[in-house]
C-alpha cells in the first residue's frame, strides 16, 4: 500500500496487489477458466475480453494476439458473459488446488 495515493491513477497491477488470492504460494494451481485463444485469434471480431476484464487477465501482444492467464482472476464472471464466441470455459476454482479470490471486505 502506498502512503499517499492522492492524484495517482492506480494501475490494475497495484489494485490486484491489494487482493488476497487462494493458494497464492502454489505454482501448480489448477486453472478454473480455460480459453481457446485459437478462437480469439482467428475468428473473433472484437476480442472484447482484453478490455472488459477488470483484472486484465486477457492481454494483447504486439501482434494483436490474445493471451490469457487465470492467476489474477478475481472471479467476477465478466468473461463468462462477455465472450460470445464460445472461447471461454468457466469452472469454479477448486478450494485446495485452484486459485481464485479470498476477499477481506468484499
Amino acid at each position: 500500500m502506498s502512503t499517499d495515493q492522492k492524484g495517482k491513477r492506480l494501475s490494475v497491477a497495484e489494485r490486484l496487489g491489494m487482493v488476497n488470492f487462494r493458494n497464492q504460494g502454489r505454482s501448480d494451481a489448477r486453472a478454473h477458466i480455460e480459453v481457446d485463444t485459437n478462437i480469439c485469434n482467428t475468428s473473433c471480431p472484437h476480442k472484447c475480453t482484453t478490455r472488459v476484464c477488470p483484472a486484465k487477465c486477457y492481454t494483447l501482444d504486439e501482434k494483436g494476439d490474445v493471451h490469457f492467464q487465470f492467476e489474477d482472476c478475481i472471479e467476477c464472471g465478466t468473461c463468462l458473459y462477455a465472450c460470445d464466441q464460445g472461447a471461454v470455459t468457466w469452472k469454479y476454482p477448486h478450494p485446495e488446488e485452484g486459485r481464485g479470490v479470498n476477499w477481506s471486505l468484499g
Binding site: 500500500m1 502506498s2 495515493q5 492522492k6 491513477r9 492506480l10 490494475v12 489494485r15 490486484l16 491489494m18 487482493v19 487462494r22 472484437h46 472484447c48 478490455r51 472488459v52 477488470p54 483484472a55 486484465k56 478475481i74 472471479e75 467476477c76 464472471g77 465478466t78 463468462l80 458473459y81 462477455a82 460470445d84 464460445g86 468457466w90 469452472k91 469454479y92 476454482p93 477448486h94 478450494p95 485446495e96 481464485g100 479470490v101 479470498n102 476477499w103 477481506s104 471486505l105 468484499g106
Partner: protein
C-alpha cells in the same frame, strides 16, 4: 442409501444464509455448502442491503456492534457532467427509526456475521447435531435421478437430500448444468461492477459526510461518471471506509471499447468525487458481474423437481433508478425457497408442482411484483440520453441558474430552454418525460 438431509443449500451468500436461517428455525435437517474459505469470502456487492427482512432473520440486529456498517438516513442522486454535479438530496430522521430501511454492508464481513447467526439458530433448533454449514467445499455437480434433483457431489463425496436450493450467485454454473439456464447467457442483461474500498479515519469520515453515530449516506451518480457507457456510479459510507464504484452495462462497455478500471480512475478524478475521497486510501479493489434487473434475464424457470433457485443465481435484482436492490431480493427469495421446502417436508412432496409454490410466493411478494411493474423504468435507464444528454443538460442548467456574474439574470425558463437546446431536443424530453411518468 445413506441418510438424507431435508435440504441442501449451495452457496453461503445472503440468499443461501437466509434460506438456512429459515430452515434452522423450522427445525429442518440441512447442509449448507460454501466454496469460499468462509461465508462471504467470494462475495462482492455495492453494497446497500435495502428493506426490513434482515430484522426478520436477526431481530434487533441494530443493537449489535458487528454485522452491518451504517444505516442509511441520507440519500443523494447526482447528475454529473465533466466539471459539475447537480444533486437531489434527501435526509430524514424518519430513517433513524428501527428497523432501518437500508444498511450499508461489506460482504466478507456481513455474510460471515450472518453465518454465525445461522449457526446459533442451528444450535437452538431441534436437530443441532444434524444440520451443518460446511465451508471450503466445492459443489461440482448437482445430482439427478429420473429427472429429479436428489443431491450434490463435491469431489468424491455425494450428499443426498429431498431438495436442493441453489444460491450460487450470478455466475450460475450449476443452474446451467441442470438446464434451468442456457449453457451460454449473453451479456445483454448483466453489467460489470467495479469497486474500491477506501479507508478513512472514522471521525474524519463522520465530519466529511455529516454522519452521527452509525448513520450513513448513499450517493448514486449518473452522467459523466461512466464516460458515456450505460450505467452509473455509487458512493456508500461504511464504518471507517467508503465504497466507491461503477456499474457498467456489459454490452455497451463492449461496444464503446472502454475498460472498467480506466473509467473508475476517471470517476475518482471527477472534482465532486475527488473532494469526497481526498485523503482516503484504497485498501481493496473488487469486481463482479451484476444483473441489470431486466426480467428477461430471469432463467426460464426457477424451480424443478427437487430444486429451487434463489438470489442472483435467478437474476433477481432491480435497479429502477432509485436504488439497486439485489441483496434484499436474495434475502426474500432465500426465505421463500426455504419456506416452500418446509411446506414440502410437512407434506412429503418435493415434486415440481409442490415447489412451484416458491415461484408463486415470489410472484406474490414485492420481489417479482416490483420487477414486473418497474420494467419500463429499467428500460428507460438504458436509453443513451439518460446517461449522457440529460445529466449534461441538468448540469448546464445548474451552472446558469447558480451563476451570479454582474450581468442581468435570465429567467429560469429561458435558461432551461437554452440547456435543452444545447444537449437534447424538446421532443426527446417529452418522450422521456412521458415514459418516466408512466414508469416510476
Amino acid at each position: 442409501m445413506e441418510e438424507k438431509f431435508d435440504c441442501i443449500i449451495v452457496g453461503g451468500g445472503i440468499a443461501g444464509l437466509s434460506a438456512a436461517m429459515t430452515l434452522a428455525r423450522g427445525n429442518a435437517r440441512f447442509l449448507l455448502i460454501e466454496r469460499g474459505e468462509f461465508c462471504g469470502a467470494k462475495n462482492v456487492s455495492g453494497g446497500v442491503l435495502w428493506g426490513s427482512d434482515l430484522a426478520r432473520l436477526v431481530p434487533n440486529y441494530w443493537k449489535e456492534e458487528a454485522g452491518f456498517e451504517r444505516f442509511v438516513n441520507h440519500r443523494r442522486l447526482t447528475f454529473m457532467d465533466d466539471q459539475s454535479a447537480f444533486s437531489a438530496d434527501f435526509k430524514s430522521n424518519h430513517f433513524n427509526e428501527t428497523p432501518y430501511t437500508g444498511v450499508t454492508v461489506l460482504r466478507s464481513v456481513f455474510d460471515a456475521w450472518l453465518a454465525d447467526k445461522v449457526q446459533i439458530a442451528i444450535d437452538e433448533s431441534d436437530h443441532p447435531e444434524e444440520s451443518f454449514m460446511a465451508t471450503d467445499i466445492l459443489v461440482e455437480e448437482v445430482l439427478q435421478e429420473d429427472g429429479k434433483i436428489v443431491g450434490i457431489r463435491a469431489g468424491e463425496e455425494s450428499f443426498y437430500s429431498d431438495c436442493v436450493i441453489i444460491a450460487e450467485g450470478v455466475n450460475n454454473l450449476l443452474t446451467r448444468q441442470i438446464g434451468l439456464e442456457k449453457e451460454y447467457v449473453p451479456a445483454d442483461h448483466v453489467a460489470v461492477g467495479v469497486k474500491e474500498v477506501l479507508k478513512l479515519d472514522e471521525s474524519r469520515l463522520a465530519d466529511r459526510f455529516q454522519l452521527q453515530g452509525r448513520s450513513g449516506l448513499t450517493n448514486e451518480f449518473v452522467g459523466a461518471c461512466s464516460e458515456g457507457v450505460e450505467g452509473g456510479g455509487f458512493l456508500y459510507t461504511n464504518r471507517d471506509s467508503i465504497s466507491l464504484g461503477l456499474v457498467l452495462g456489459m454490452t455497451d462497455l463492449k461496444e464503446k471499447e472502454k475498460t472498467p478500471y480506466d473509467v473508475l480512475n476517471s470517476f475518482k478524478e471527477h472534482p465532486a468525487i475527488a473532494d469526497m475521497i481526498a485523503g482516503a486510501e484504497t485498501v481493496e479493489y473488487s469486481a463482479h458481474v451484476v444483473s441489470t434487473g431486466d426480467i428477461r434475464g430471469i432463467p426460464s424457470e426457477i424451480y424443478a423437481d427437487g430444486v429451487m433457485i434463489a438470489g442472483e443465481a435467478a437474476h433477481l435484482l432491480l435497479n429502477a433508478g432509485k436504488a439497486i436492490q439485489g441483496m434484499d431480493y436474495a434475502m426474500r427469495s432465500g426465505i421463500l425457497a426455504a419456506e416452500t421446502a418446509l411446506e414440502a417436508k410437512s407434506r412429503s412432496d418435493y415434486s415440481g408442482s409442490m415447489l412451484s409454490n416458491y415461484r408463486k410466493a415470489l410472484e406474490n411478494s414485492y420481489v417479482l411484483k416490483d420487477m414486473k411493474s418497474f420494467q419500463d423504468a429499467v428500460h428507460l435507464l438504458h436509453q443513451e440520453q439518460m446517461f449522457s444528454a440529460i445529466p449534461d443538460m441538468i448540469c448546464d442548467f445548474g451552472r446558469q441558474f447558480f451563476t451570479i456574474d454582474g450581468e442581468p439574470t435570465a429567467k429560469a425558463s429561458s435558461m432551461m430552454r437554452a440547456s435543452i437546446k444545447r444537449h437534447a431536443s424538446y421532443w426527446d424530453l417529452v418522450k422521456i418525460g412521458l415514459k418516466g411518468a408512466r414508469a416510476l
